[in-house]
Symmetry: D2
Subunit: 260 residues, 4 copies
Amino acid sequence: MAGKLKKKDYEARLEALQHELNTLHAWMAATGERVLVILEGRDTAGKTGVINAITHRLNPRRTRVVALSKPSEREQGQWYFQRYVEHLPGAGELVLFDRSWYNRAGVEAVMGFCSEAEHKRFLAECPVFERLLVADGIRLFKYWLTLDQAEQERRLAERLDDPLKRWKLSPVDLAARERYADYGKARDRMLRHTDTGEAPWYMVDANDQRRMRIDLVSHLLSKLPYRPMPVEVPPFPPLSGPPGRDRPKVKVRWVPRAGD
Amino acid sequence: MAGKLKKKDYEARLEALQHELNTLHAWMAATGERVLVILEGRDTAGKTGVINAITHRLNPRRTRVVALSKPSEREQGQWYFQRYVEHLPGAGELVLFDRSWYNRAGVEAVMGFCSEAEHKRFLAECPVFERLLVADGIRLFKYWLTLDQAEQERRLAERLDDPLKRWKLSPVDLAARERYADYGKARDRMLRHTDTGEAPWYMVDANDQRRMRIDLVSHLLSKLPYRPMPVEVPPFPPLSGPPGRDRPKVKVRWVPRAGD
Amino acid sequence: MAGKLKKKDYEARLEALQHELNTLHAWMAATGERVLVILEGRDTAGKTGVINAITHRLNPRRTRVVALSKPSEREQGQWYFQRYVEHLPGAGELVLFDRSWYNRAGVEAVMGFCSEAEHKRFLAECPVFERLLVADGIRLFKYWLTLDQAEQERRLAERLDDPLKRWKLSPVDLAARERYADYGKARDRMLRHTDTGEAPWYMVDANDQRRMRIDLVSHLLSKLPYRPMPVEVPPFPPLSGPPGRDRPKVKVRWVPRAGD
Amino acid sequence: MAGKLKKKDYEARLEALQHELNTLHAWMAATGERVLVILEGRDTAGKTGVINAITHRLNPRRTRVVALSKPSEREQGQWYFQRYVEHLPGAGELVLFDRSWYNRAGVEAVMGFCSEAEHKRFLAECPVFERLLVADGIRLFKYWLTLDQAEQERRLAERLDDPLKRWKLSPVDLAARERYADYGKARDRMLRHTDTGEAPWYMVDANDQRRMRIDLVSHLLSKLPYRPMPVEVPPFPPLSGPPGRDRPKVKVRWVPRAGD
């Protein structure tokens, strides 16, 4: 491997991938295929960024990003997977989970928000649940973004510094700094139970954000049997008269123009 | 007014505005204020673009974009405003409607998707409905983006040309080209009935996209009595040990690195 | 008026009314008419009972009973009417509200669960809101069940005594006993503001439960312009072979028969 | 066993069972236990009737009846179990399914509303899905109500005759008459795949409706380890003054009293 990916290179590659994603999305619409992408990994690893790179140019009517808050009291009494199930993709939909049911094997287990029995039960049930989804035809992809702590520290400091990013930091994130190794152990335990033939985990090195995005999207595309669909370009004849001006005939308030 | 806004200028101004939006959003969280922004206007006028500019750097947990499809059969039998009501902002939330209940006074009226009686009833009821929301404390902003047809033609042609944008075009959009004047008349009729003291309309010139975004966001901010809230920066002590490396101890699949 | 209505008389009359309700419901299905019935009144006045009498023999797919709990924290930050709006009737539906948005003018005002400003705002906004629903074509009926306190005491004592009814009693209900007069005053204030031409209140004497049910249902029917719809009775030819026996061919567990 | 259960006997037994159900429900509230009862069986077998007998005297805030219509187009594109999952019981809730996901192994399979591949997949996946629910702690009960065709014919004829019951009949129900044996075969196939140790089926003879209700409820109660919870009876001191009369001080409309 080499140094960081240059911005220009990154943008060129990303745009090529977005064309492919667009082709994929059209194929999904035509065939009714459903794709679910789960993104997990260290805080600041770049889950939201890669999601934005994927969704940016796609039809939002068939693209959804799901980032659930912690469960309500009512949800805590329900089947553990229930609140996630309602967000599974329908026909032709691409759904991206920014964190997922794997919270139980990560933050909940490490910070003691669930019991050891609940943790164990999750590790046993989760592969069964995922197998059901895959058997139903949902194409499930699970990515884990790895991030070394030195780089994580750099990013956390940047978030603290930047008022536009500070809301991204929660006290739980900061508490996680001293549990870095524990999170690693919990992740490995999770991998041992849930890295299955039907629903494998893919690790992505996220220390270089741009590379990570290119790598992840390239990999996702390589795993899906899409093909270009015939495109019907609608007719676009010249206007039958001169183009109109958009001027209300009634008295209105105008937003002032900014100076130059 | 002068020529188009240069990219560099635009980006600098936008970033300054995003800082202000961030301050606004923190104020909303602290006070429970609710803000609802309605965006209407010609196809390709740039509603989605300005929404993205506004939401891009804000906490997504308190920001929602609402772009409803055409009503289902069930919804068609309900109170006209019902399906919109469920998306109104809760405490501390900023909600942006990409098109809205004003569909009835625009595309539905012009294309004959509703009856003249329904159109009339809407024009009579809508100001009453909006007054209720404002009386309840919701801060409601209604922007109409004007776009001359010559510029619109240019943008439609570009969308047809660009595979990444083609999904944005619907047959209804293309049918609307020859009804440009009718849409203008319907808009003016709408303005006469719904441009009220409690819920005024603001027109924005959208022929230059960058200026439009800067103008609209500047205006929105100027109308809200927010102020900076005290920020508590959490402590960030040095790590107690050397930073960890993120390497699974179990055998895993890695996403391949892209070449250089 | 005379003594209490005898059980036999009551049942005969109720059944006749249920036939009429059935005719009404068929008319609603055919025409898409929407009916919303709001039931308010003293605790133990019999709101649930009359609702059951109305719904008992109707198609549940087009009948809904709505009895909302106190608002969640999230709902408390929303437009006051929002959580009720989602339960409004769709085409062909009969919806019955067991208590309603009038909580604000009753229990909330008397027990101090809302501020005087919120109470006042409700009294001003509620008629406007209801006028919108009526203008949209929803047929709105508001019944207030009156109950003298001596009878209420008798019923409360019965509920306390009967284990099958005890869950119906909440601490708020018992606290309301000593505020009987205050509830009456709040009700009168509510009537002064919300008894409007478009959405009038109807008082029903609920001291005799059976009479109340007959009176209320008779009144409701008298106010609706329904008429019998032609009924298509599907063909019902004799079976082509001997009737089957329902015996599984596989080994199964049977629920034991109760002895005699 | 003997003849039909007499009405008086039935009512006495049912009331005793309702006391037990009430005790069960209080135990569920105290412990957070979740109970899901699935009711399947021949048309007119009495599913709705036994559900009403169970729910009639229970706190409706923790009791839900779920009778889903046929799936919408959107739902048809989703994971087969998805639309049922959202109705699973939360803590302390009793949920009764009037028909269920077993539609796929019954009406859908027999009438050709699903493919043989979908039918097979359901039979394979359903036990896995149910095992997940049971592992999560949901107490799942599956009852199949058997009904001989002679009795079914009698009940269908009665429904056709009675205007109050005619809406209960759908064309699919009548079409099912000539497929009585096919439904039986489909049911047996279903039993072979889904009568499992974790989620067994229980057959109930429904030829006598009253007995069926008593049998089913008795069985359900016998399978749950509930026990009486201590009941706190709230204090009920005498009123501090004379009981009030419920007479509005404002001019109101009264619902007329029915004559005698």
